[in-house]
Protein backbone atom coordinates (compact mmCIF):
# COMPACT_ATOMS: atom_id res chain seq x y z
CA UNK A 1 0.00 0.00 0.00
CA UNK A 2 1.42 3.37 -0.96
CA UNK A 3 0.92 6.14 1.56
CA UNK A 4 -0.53 9.47 0.59
CA UNK A 5 2.71 11.25 1.46
CA UNK A 6 4.66 8.98 -0.88
CA UNK A 7 2.23 9.78 -3.66
CA UNK A 8 2.60 13.51 -3.09
CA UNK A 9 6.38 13.36 -2.96
CA UNK A 10 6.92 11.80 -6.41
CA UNK A 11 8.96 14.01 -8.76
CA UNK A 12 6.57 13.25 -11.63
CA UNK A 13 3.67 14.85 -9.77
CA UNK A 14 5.89 17.78 -8.80
CA UNK A 15 6.79 18.37 -12.46
CA UNK A 16 3.13 18.14 -13.50
CA UNK A 17 2.16 20.62 -10.77
CA UNK A 18 4.89 22.97 -11.94
CA UNK A 19 3.40 22.86 -15.44
CA UNK A 20 -0.02 23.69 -13.97
CA UNK A 21 1.48 26.48 -11.85
CA UNK A 22 3.15 28.02 -14.92
CA UNK A 23 -0.06 27.70 -16.94
CA UNK A 24 -2.06 29.32 -14.13
CA UNK A 25 -0.15 32.56 -14.69
CA UNK A 26 -2.31 33.31 -17.71
CA UNK A 27 -5.60 32.28 -16.06
CA UNK A 28 -7.78 35.25 -15.03
CA UNK A 29 -7.09 36.08 -11.37
CA UNK A 30 -10.69 35.50 -10.26
CA UNK A 31 -10.66 31.94 -11.65
CA UNK A 32 -7.08 31.02 -10.88
CA UNK A 33 -7.53 29.34 -7.49
CA UNK A 34 -10.40 27.11 -8.53
CA UNK A 35 -8.76 26.33 -11.86
CA UNK A 36 -5.48 25.30 -10.19
CA UNK A 37 -7.34 23.29 -7.55
CA UNK A 38 -9.22 21.30 -10.18
CA UNK A 39 -6.15 20.53 -12.30
CA UNK A 40 -4.05 19.57 -9.29
CA UNK A 41 -6.82 17.35 -7.91
CA UNK A 42 -7.30 15.51 -11.21
CA UNK A 43 -3.55 15.01 -11.60
CA UNK A 44 -3.36 13.74 -8.03
CA UNK A 45 -6.04 11.08 -8.68
CA UNK A 46 -4.48 9.95 -11.94
CA UNK A 47 -1.04 9.80 -10.38
CA UNK A 48 -2.42 8.00 -7.35
CA UNK A 49 -3.99 5.29 -9.51
CA UNK A 50 -0.76 4.87 -11.52
CA UNK A 51 1.32 4.47 -8.35
CA UNK A 52 -1.13 2.14 -6.64
CA UNK A 53 -1.45 -0.08 -9.72
CA UNK A 54 2.32 0.04 -10.22
CA UNK A 55 1.91 1.34 -13.78
CA UNK A 56 4.51 4.11 -13.72
CA UNK A 57 6.32 3.12 -16.91
CA UNK A 58 8.22 5.55 -19.15
CA UNK A 59 5.23 5.64 -21.51
CA UNK A 60 2.87 6.44 -18.63
CA UNK A 61 5.25 9.18 -17.43
CA UNK A 62 5.09 10.77 -20.87
CA UNK A 63 1.32 10.36 -21.06
CA UNK A 64 0.90 11.88 -17.62
CA UNK A 65 3.01 14.93 -18.47
CA UNK A 66 1.17 15.29 -21.77
CA UNK A 67 -2.08 15.44 -19.84
CA UNK A 68 -0.62 18.01 -17.47
CA UNK A 69 0.51 20.12 -20.42
CA UNK A 70 -3.12 20.27 -21.54
CA UNK A 71 -3.44 22.80 -18.73
CA UNK A 72 -1.43 25.25 -20.86
CA UNK A 73 -3.98 25.03 -23.68
CA UNK A 74 -6.84 25.26 -21.20
CA UNK A 75 -5.28 28.30 -19.51
CA UNK A 76 -4.70 30.16 -22.76
CA UNK A 77 -8.26 29.43 -23.84
CA UNK A 78 -9.64 30.68 -20.53
CA UNK A 79 -7.54 33.79 -20.80
CA UNK A 80 -8.34 34.72 -24.37
CA UNK A 81 -12.05 33.94 -24.27
CA UNK A 82 -13.94 32.30 -27.09
CA UNK A 83 -11.38 30.13 -28.79
CA UNK A 84 -13.64 28.60 -31.38
CA UNK A 85 -13.25 31.74 -33.45
CA UNK A 86 -9.46 31.66 -33.46
CA UNK A 87 -9.36 27.99 -34.10
CA UNK A 88 -11.32 28.60 -37.23
CA UNK A 89 -9.26 31.54 -38.33
CA UNK A 90 -6.01 33.13 -37.24
CA UNK A 91 -7.11 36.23 -39.12
CA UNK A 92 -9.97 36.73 -36.70
CA UNK A 93 -7.60 36.64 -33.76
CA UNK A 94 -5.36 39.15 -35.47
CA UNK A 95 -8.36 41.38 -36.08
CA UNK A 96 -9.47 41.08 -32.45
CA UNK A 97 -5.98 41.92 -31.20
CA UNK A 98 -5.86 44.83 -33.61
CA UNK A 99 -9.21 46.19 -32.45
CA UNK A 100 -8.20 45.89 -28.79
CA UNK A 101 -4.75 47.37 -29.19
CA UNK A 102 -3.18 48.12 -32.58
CA UNK A 103 0.16 48.86 -30.94
CA UNK A 104 0.39 45.52 -29.13
CA UNK A 105 -0.80 43.67 -32.25
CA UNK A 106 1.89 45.34 -34.36
CA UNK A 107 4.52 44.61 -31.71
CA UNK A 108 3.56 40.94 -31.60
CA UNK A 109 3.55 40.75 -35.38
CA UNK A 110 7.08 42.16 -35.50
CA UNK A 111 8.29 39.81 -32.81
CA UNK A 112 6.61 36.78 -34.41
CA UNK A 113 7.97 37.52 -37.87
CA UNK A 114 11.44 38.22 -36.51
CA UNK A 115 11.52 35.04 -34.48
CA UNK A 116 10.07 32.80 -37.18
CA UNK A 117 12.52 34.12 -39.78
CA UNK A 118 15.40 33.93 -37.34
CA UNK A 119 14.61 30.36 -36.28
CA UNK A 120 14.54 29.31 -39.93
CA UNK A 121 17.84 31.09 -40.63
CA UNK A 122 19.56 29.49 -37.65
CA UNK A 123 18.26 26.03 -38.56
CA UNK A 124 19.34 26.52 -42.16
CA UNK A 125 22.81 27.70 -41.13
CA UNK A 126 23.18 24.69 -38.85
CA UNK A 127 22.07 22.37 -41.63
CA UNK A 128 24.78 23.90 -43.83
CA UNK A 129 27.43 23.22 -41.20
CA UNK A 130 26.33 19.69 -40.36
CA UNK A 131 25.32 18.50 -43.83
CA UNK A 132 27.52 20.44 -46.26
CA UNK A 133 27.35 17.87 -49.06
CA UNK A 134 23.59 17.60 -48.88
CA UNK A 135 22.84 21.30 -48.90
CA UNK A 136 25.84 22.71 -50.80
CA UNK A 137 26.38 20.63 -53.86
CA UNK A 138 29.32 22.12 -55.79
CA UNK A 139 29.97 25.18 -53.61
CA UNK A 140 33.49 26.17 -52.55
CA UNK A 141 34.25 26.02 -48.78
CA UNK A 142 35.15 29.74 -48.68
CA UNK A 143 31.81 30.71 -50.23
CA UNK A 144 30.09 28.37 -47.77
CA UNK A 145 31.79 30.04 -44.80
CA UNK A 146 30.89 33.50 -46.05
CA UNK A 147 27.27 32.51 -46.56
CA UNK A 148 27.02 31.03 -43.07
CA UNK A 149 28.55 34.22 -41.66
CA UNK A 150 26.09 36.43 -43.52
CA UNK A 151 23.17 34.21 -42.44
CA UNK A 152 24.27 34.45 -38.79
CA UNK A 153 24.67 38.23 -39.02
CA UNK A 154 21.26 38.66 -40.65
CA UNK A 155 19.73 36.32 -38.07
CA UNK A 156 21.12 38.22 -35.09
CA UNK A 157 20.22 41.62 -36.61
CA UNK A 158 16.71 40.42 -37.35
CA UNK A 159 16.23 39.20 -33.80
CA UNK A 160 17.62 42.35 -32.20
CA UNK A 161 15.61 44.60 -34.53
CA UNK A 162 12.33 42.78 -33.92
CA UNK A 163 12.86 42.78 -30.15
CA UNK A 164 13.80 46.46 -30.07
CA UNK A 165 10.76 47.38 -32.15
CA UNK A 166 8.56 45.23 -29.89
CA UNK A 167 9.98 46.82 -26.74
CA UNK A 168 9.48 50.29 -28.19
CA UNK A 169 5.88 49.56 -29.15
CA UNK A 170 5.00 47.81 -25.90
CA UNK A 171 6.68 50.58 -23.93
CA UNK A 172 4.32 53.06 -25.52
CA UNK A 173 1.27 51.28 -24.14
CA UNK A 174 -0.10 52.90 -20.98
CA UNK A 175 -0.09 51.65 -17.41
CA UNK A 176 0.32 47.91 -16.95
CA UNK A 177 -2.65 46.64 -14.96
CA UNK A 178 -2.87 43.04 -13.84
CA UNK A 179 -5.41 42.43 -16.58
CA UNK A 180 -3.05 43.74 -19.23
CA UNK A 181 -0.12 41.73 -17.92
CA UNK A 182 -2.21 38.58 -18.12
CA UNK A 183 -3.29 39.38 -21.64
CA UNK A 184 0.30 40.10 -22.65
CA UNK A 185 1.41 36.71 -21.31
CA UNK A 186 -1.36 34.92 -23.17
CA UNK A 187 -0.52 36.75 -26.37
CA UNK A 188 3.17 35.98 -26.09
CA UNK A 189 2.32 32.33 -25.52
CA UNK A 190 0.07 32.33 -28.55
CA UNK A 191 2.70 34.14 -30.62
CA UNK A 192 5.18 31.44 -29.59
CA UNK A 193 2.84 28.72 -30.80
CA UNK A 194 2.19 30.52 -34.08
CA UNK A 195 5.89 31.09 -34.80
CA UNK A 196 6.64 27.44 -34.08
CA UNK A 197 3.85 26.38 -36.38
CA UNK A 198 4.89 28.73 -39.19
CA UNK A 199 8.56 27.78 -38.95
CA UNK A 200 7.80 24.04 -38.94
CA UNK A 201 5.28 24.32 -41.76
CA UNK A 202 7.71 26.27 -43.96
CA UNK A 203 10.58 23.90 -43.20
CA UNK A 204 8.48 20.81 -43.82
CA UNK A 205 7.06 22.10 -47.10
CA UNK A 206 10.53 23.34 -48.07
CA UNK A 207 12.09 19.95 -47.38
CA UNK A 208 9.42 18.26 -49.46
CA UNK A 209 9.42 20.76 -52.31
CA UNK A 210 13.15 21.34 -52.85
CA UNK A 211 14.12 17.79 -53.97
CA UNK A 212 11.79 18.12 -56.94
CA UNK A 213 13.67 21.19 -58.11
CA UNK A 214 17.22 20.13 -57.20
CA UNK A 215 18.03 16.44 -57.52
CA UNK A 216 21.24 16.73 -55.45
CA UNK A 217 19.42 18.23 -52.46
CA UNK A 218 18.79 16.01 -49.48
CA UNK A 219 16.93 17.42 -46.54
CA UNK A 220 18.81 16.91 -43.25
CA UNK A 221 17.20 13.95 -41.47
CA UNK A 222 16.73 15.91 -38.27
CA UNK A 223 15.51 19.16 -39.80
CA UNK A 224 12.53 19.41 -37.47
CA UNK A 225 14.69 18.91 -34.38
CA UNK A 226 17.09 21.56 -35.67
CA UNK A 227 14.25 23.95 -36.21
CA UNK A 228 12.80 23.30 -32.75
CA UNK A 229 16.18 23.97 -31.13
CA UNK A 230 16.64 27.11 -33.19
CA UNK A 231 13.14 28.28 -32.32
CA UNK A 232 13.67 27.65 -28.60
CA UNK A 233 17.04 29.42 -28.65
CA UNK A 234 15.57 32.37 -30.53
CA UNK A 235 12.67 32.74 -28.13
CA UNK A 236 14.96 32.53 -25.15
CA UNK A 237 17.20 35.25 -26.61
CA UNK A 238 14.18 37.37 -27.53
CA UNK A 239 12.66 37.17 -24.04
CA UNK A 240 16.04 37.83 -22.44
CA UNK A 241 16.57 40.87 -24.65
CA UNK A 242 13.06 42.10 -23.93
CA UNK A 243 13.65 41.77 -20.18
CA UNK A 244 16.96 43.67 -20.45
CA UNK A 245 15.34 46.44 -22.50
CA UNK A 246 12.42 46.75 -20.07
CA UNK A 247 14.78 46.91 -17.10
CA UNK A 248 16.84 49.53 -18.89
CA UNK A 249 13.69 51.51 -19.67
CA UNK A 250 12.53 51.33 -16.03
CA UNK A 251 15.98 52.41 -14.86
CA UNK A 252 15.93 55.37 -17.23
CA UNK A 253 12.41 56.28 -16.10
CA UNK A 254 13.38 56.24 -12.43
CA UNK A 255 16.13 58.79 -12.92
Amino acid sequence: MVSDDEVRATPLLAVARTIVAVASLVVPAEQRDEWTREWNAELWYLHDSLVRDDRLTIAEHARFLLRASGSLVDAVQLSTGDMQAWRESFVEVGARWWRRSPVVATALLFLSLGIAADAMLIAFARALVEYPSATWAGLAPSTRGLTIGVAALVGVSLLVASVVVTAQLLGGVGATTEHRTRERRAELLLAAVITAWVAHAVATYGAIAIPNETPEWQAPPDLNAMLTHAWLATWLCALLLLAVLRRHRRGAGAM
Partner: protein
Protein backbone atom coordinates in the same frame (compact mmCIF):
# COMPACT_ATOMS: atom_id res chain seq x y z
CA UNK B 1 -29.04 34.64 -22.59
CA UNK B 2 -26.37 32.13 -23.60
CA UNK B 3 -26.67 30.77 -27.12
CA UNK B 4 -26.70 27.03 -27.66
CA UNK B 5 -23.34 26.00 -29.20
CA UNK B 6 -22.93 24.18 -32.47
CA UNK B 7 -22.56 20.52 -31.78
CA UNK B 8 -19.14 19.29 -32.82
CA UNK B 9 -17.90 15.70 -32.67
CA UNK B 10 -15.71 16.34 -29.57
CA UNK B 11 -18.52 18.13 -27.73
CA UNK B 12 -20.93 15.29 -28.55
CA UNK B 13 -18.35 12.82 -27.22
CA UNK B 14 -17.98 14.76 -23.96
CA UNK B 15 -21.77 14.96 -23.52
CA UNK B 16 -22.09 11.24 -24.27
CA UNK B 17 -19.47 10.44 -21.64
CA UNK B 18 -21.34 12.57 -19.10
CA UNK B 19 -24.64 10.94 -20.06
CA UNK B 20 -23.06 7.53 -19.48
CA UNK B 21 -22.07 8.50 -15.95
CA UNK B 22 -18.48 9.67 -16.19
CA UNK B 23 -18.25 12.66 -13.92
CA UNK B 24 -14.63 13.87 -13.85
CA UNK B 25 -12.53 15.63 -16.47
CA UNK B 26 -9.79 12.99 -16.53
CA UNK B 27 -12.27 10.10 -16.69
CA UNK B 28 -13.91 11.78 -19.67
CA UNK B 29 -10.52 12.01 -21.38
CA UNK B 30 -9.93 8.34 -20.72
CA UNK B 31 -13.18 7.11 -22.27
CA UNK B 32 -13.37 9.59 -25.15
CA UNK B 33 -9.67 9.53 -26.04
CA UNK B 34 -9.73 13.34 -26.26
CA UNK B 35 -6.69 15.24 -24.94
CA UNK B 36 -6.87 17.29 -21.74
CA UNK B 37 -6.39 20.50 -23.72
CA UNK B 38 -9.66 19.74 -25.50
CA UNK B 39 -11.83 18.26 -22.75
CA UNK B 40 -11.51 21.05 -20.18
CA UNK B 41 -12.16 23.95 -22.54
CA UNK B 42 -15.17 22.00 -23.88
CA UNK B 43 -16.53 21.36 -20.39
CA UNK B 44 -16.22 25.05 -19.54
CA UNK B 45 -17.89 26.09 -22.76
CA UNK B 46 -20.72 23.60 -22.32
CA UNK B 47 -21.15 24.75 -18.73
CA UNK B 48 -21.29 28.41 -19.77
CA UNK B 49 -24.19 27.66 -22.12
CA UNK B 50 -26.06 25.54 -19.56
CA UNK B 51 -25.50 22.12 -21.12
CA UNK B 52 -23.34 20.93 -18.23
CA UNK B 53 -23.28 21.74 -14.54
CA UNK B 54 -20.55 21.15 -12.01
CA UNK B 55 -20.16 20.93 -8.26
CA UNK B 56 -17.28 20.42 -5.87
CA UNK B 57 -17.39 17.50 -3.48
CA UNK B 58 -17.24 18.25 0.24
CA UNK B 59 -13.77 19.33 1.37
CA UNK B 60 -14.40 17.66 4.72
CA UNK B 61 -15.05 14.24 3.23
CA UNK B 62 -12.00 14.48 1.00
CA UNK B 63 -9.75 15.69 3.82
CA UNK B 64 -10.92 12.82 6.01
CA UNK B 65 -9.72 10.36 3.33
CA UNK B 66 -6.44 12.26 2.85
CA UNK B 67 -7.15 13.20 -0.76
CA UNK B 68 -8.01 16.41 -2.57
CA UNK B 69 -11.64 17.33 -3.26
CA UNK B 70 -12.78 16.74 -6.82
CA UNK B 71 -15.02 18.62 -9.19
CA UNK B 72 -17.95 16.66 -10.63
CA UNK B 73 -19.69 17.36 -13.91
CA UNK B 74 -23.20 16.40 -14.97
CA UNK B 75 -25.19 16.77 -18.15
CA UNK B 76 -28.32 18.96 -17.95
CA UNK B 77 -31.60 18.83 -19.89
CA UNK B 78 -30.20 21.34 -22.37
CA UNK B 79 -27.17 19.11 -22.73
CA UNK B 80 -29.37 16.07 -23.45
CA UNK B 81 -31.03 18.02 -26.28
CA UNK B 82 -27.65 18.97 -27.72
CA UNK B 83 -26.43 15.39 -27.38
CA UNK B 84 -29.47 14.11 -29.28
CA UNK B 85 -28.62 16.54 -32.08
CA UNK B 86 -25.03 15.37 -31.94
CA UNK B 87 -26.05 11.74 -32.27
CA UNK B 88 -28.16 12.58 -35.31
CA UNK B 89 -25.18 14.25 -36.90
CA UNK B 90 -22.46 11.82 -35.78
CA UNK B 91 -23.76 8.27 -35.68
CA UNK B 92 -20.52 6.93 -34.15
CA UNK B 93 -20.81 8.95 -30.94
CA UNK B 94 -22.94 6.39 -29.10
CA UNK B 95 -20.49 3.57 -29.81
CA UNK B 96 -17.34 5.62 -29.23
CA UNK B 97 -17.89 5.92 -25.49
CA UNK B 98 -18.25 2.75 -23.48
CA UNK B 99 -20.79 2.64 -20.67
CA UNK B 100 -19.45 3.11 -17.20
CA UNK B 101 -19.36 5.26 -14.17
CA UNK B 102 -16.65 7.30 -12.49
CA UNK B 103 -15.58 6.30 -9.01
CA UNK B 104 -17.81 8.93 -7.49
CA UNK B 105 -17.28 9.36 -3.78
CA UNK B 106 -20.09 8.23 -1.48
CA UNK B 107 -20.28 11.79 -0.28
CA UNK B 108 -20.56 13.31 -3.72
CA UNK B 109 -22.76 16.40 -3.89
CA UNK B 110 -26.51 15.98 -4.13
CA UNK B 111 -27.62 17.21 -7.54
Amino acid sequence: MPTRPNVTYPSALVLEALAKGYAYGFDIMEVTGLPSGTVYPLLRRLESVGCVESRWESEKAAARDGRPARRYYRITGEGEVLLARGKERFAAVGKAVRSGRSRVSEESPAW
